[in-house]
């Protein structure tokens, strides 16, 4: 299963791609890597330092924990305080600070917070603790949604009654549209996320590219994938084109993963969603369809959305929109560190601040 990526770290290939980039690079440009996994990979391999001066990579809104609104984070933490509720969540979320404390703090105070690696593990917890309500915190982009949908279907098939999800899923295309509508964005090309694209395919990007005259390349996560993506973007610019190119054909079919898409469609429907930094965006979230309403924690526990108040002085919202870098944030490395983060971009292993902190800049 690991052969898929071998060779793409290849030194010779990377060098050749870097030479190509040198050759095609004519004048200053800014490309946005939309996805947090790209950001991490770019830092891990020291890619920024290898690019010609004037070729800037900026990070986009592609870290699911980072774009979750403060109101929603607070809602999760409030929910964890209910004695009859067991929270089931991915590990990333544990340290994300709410207005008052994090899930990790609540766990130390006695809340039951279980870290899972896959949503379906929540059903095991349901079986072991029939007297409790298990709530899975459903955060994530299109990559994560199909497994959550499958878990809902499994819970229904097995007649599991003490399971629900707090549905905070977000989808990428409408958020990208909002970002591109911002005239101050100043981005000349997008590196589109490989794993989200593996689910949704290349098609959703075609409309965006046409509408905003924006070169887009879908890229994988190995250094050579990313370098190839940058090279293809430069070529499009030089040719005066704005297309969608699929640089990750080994994982991304044009039409996406049809089985995963139909799973999503069976269980979820689009809705408005609030993004940190970007605000409310119509059609950029997912909610459970009426017929799966019994699994909706909002309904089950009579919750209502919290107003979103982001921490003072924290620039996460601006960083997500590529309008600021962590270095411009007054809190970065001072009040805000991975162990006591103020904003989510410092917590998530895919967050821009966390990447800047962990891998530094040379």
């Amino acid at each position: 299963m690991f052969e898929i990526d071998s060779g793409f770290k290849d030194k010779e290939l990377s060098r050749a791609l870097l030479r190509g980039i040198e050759k095609e690079f004519k004048s200053p440009v800014r490309f946005m890597e939309v996805c947090g996994t790209h950001t991490m990979s770019i830092f891990r391999y020291g890619i920024r330092g290898l690019l010609p001066e004037g070729l800037f990579l900026v990070s986009g809104p592609g870290c699911p924990v980072c774009v979750t609104s403060q109101g929603d984070i607070d809602l999760i933490i409030e929910l964890s305080k209910e004695p009859e509720i067991i929270i089931s969540t991915f590990g990333d979320l544990l340290r994300v600070p709410g207005s008052r404390g994090s899930l990790m703090d609540e766990r130390a105070r006695g809340s039951q917070v279980n870290v899972v690696y896959s949503p379906s593990e929540s059903l095991e917890i349901c079986k072991k603790t029939p007297e409790k309500e298990v709530v899975f915190i459903a955060i994530g982009f299109e990559t994560t949604v199909p497994t959550v949908a499958a878990t809902i279907l499994e819970a229904r098939a097995k007649g599991i009654k003490n399971f629900s999800i707090l549905c905070l899923h977000k989808t990428m295309p409408e958020a990208l549209r909002t970002l591109l509508e911002d005239e101050e964005l100043g981005v000349n090309g997008l590196l589109a996320p490989g794993h989200v694209s593996a689910i949704i395919g290349a098609r959703p990007y075609r409309m965006l590219s046409r509408e905003f005259n924006m070169p887009i390349v879908i890229a994988g996560f190995e250094p050579a994938d990313i370098l190839q993506g940058i090279l293809l973007l430069l070529r499009q610019l030089n040719d005066g084109r704005a297309d969608v190119q699929n640089g990750y054909k080994r994982a991304v079919p044009e039409e996406g993963n049809l089985r995963a898409l139909s799973l999503i469609k069976e269980v979820f429907e689009p809705c408005e969603s609030t993004w940190r930094g970007l605000g409310k965006i119509e059609g950029s979230g997912l909610r459970l369809k009426e017929e799966y309403g019994e699994f909706d924690a909002m309904k089950r526990f009579g919750l209502s959305p919290n107003p979103s108040r982001e921490p003072k002085a924290c620039l996460c919202g601006e960083i997500i929109k590529a309008k600021a870098t962590p270095l411009e944030c007054p809190l970065f490395k001072r009040a805000c560190t991975p162990l006591s983060p103020v904003g989510p971009c410092m917590v998530s292993s895919e967050g821009t601040c966390s990447a800047f902190y962990k891998y530094g800049l040379l």
């Binding site: 299963m1 330092g49 050579a224 370098l227 040379l362």
Partner: protein, 344 residues
Amino acid sequence: MKDKTIHIDHGSGGLATKKLIEEVFLKRLSNKRLERLEDSAILDISSNQLAFTTDSFVVDPIFFTGGDIGSLSIHGTVNDLAMQGARPVALSLGLILEEGLLIDELERVAESIKDALLEAKVEVVTADTKVVQRGKADRIFINTSGVGIPYEPRLFLSSERVEEGDVIIVSGSIGDHGATILLERSGFKMDVSIGSDSCPLNGLVETVIKGVGEDFNKLKVFRDPTRGGLATVLNEIAQASNCNMILYEDDIPVKEEVRGVCEILGLDPLYLANEGKMVLICKESIKEKVLGLMKSHLYGRDSRIIGKVERNVKDESPIVTLKTTIGGERIVSILSGQPLPRIC
């Protein structure tokens, strides 16, 4: 043993405790000093330098591919002694058992402790068992302490002795233990063959110290990169010595399977725990000799030079830099907290 599970009587100090100690532990670990069952053991040691260490083990799961909490508790303490250049001479063994633990499992742990002791050529000379109510501990916790005497009393191993030009050697692939535990804990069914690297390192250390002979003073520091992994240990040495370090990613041995697990769980092998690996820093002039000695030992076969110590930075804070496979550079910082697997 007839009983199937541990119950609270096994910790009473009475007959049930005696039976447990005899049938599970003495049967396997007996030696002249332990079987006296006195309140403490008398050690007959002539050296005027003693290494003394303690460590507690709470690993979950208690059985994992390549080892279990029993062997780990022996290797951990033996290795802590070895990293100070000391031969282990005696260990203590303290167990906290949760009511309900299967006796079968305890016997497996005791058996593995026995094997680990045999391999490390050391004995448990004093021991203690306590039982707590169900829910007050997680099946089994172990504490071991150990004393050791230096292989070479004139050798002073310390991070503070590290200086510009020294080379950094690692005794084999990194991240095996951490990746194994995280994978088994995650419940992911991945078709990969990885196991913990847990093993005693005293033999390897002895081979190196004795092998370099009168050059012993060119050995600077031995460290086992357990929690926090290679990245954390090297940062600690950098800080203690005030020297920058450079590592070459191409030269750092990481098993393909470990790399795969890391990619899927969103982790970095540089930060994963090792339980049978050693980082050694020595003067450049003896690097080939040391590397040869390490490679001659079973637990150092895959030793590699992975980097070097650069200039002393005096007032700035020292950094560890990694030259990546594609020629980029990045800073390797210290681990901030528990590694958290990611969401996509």
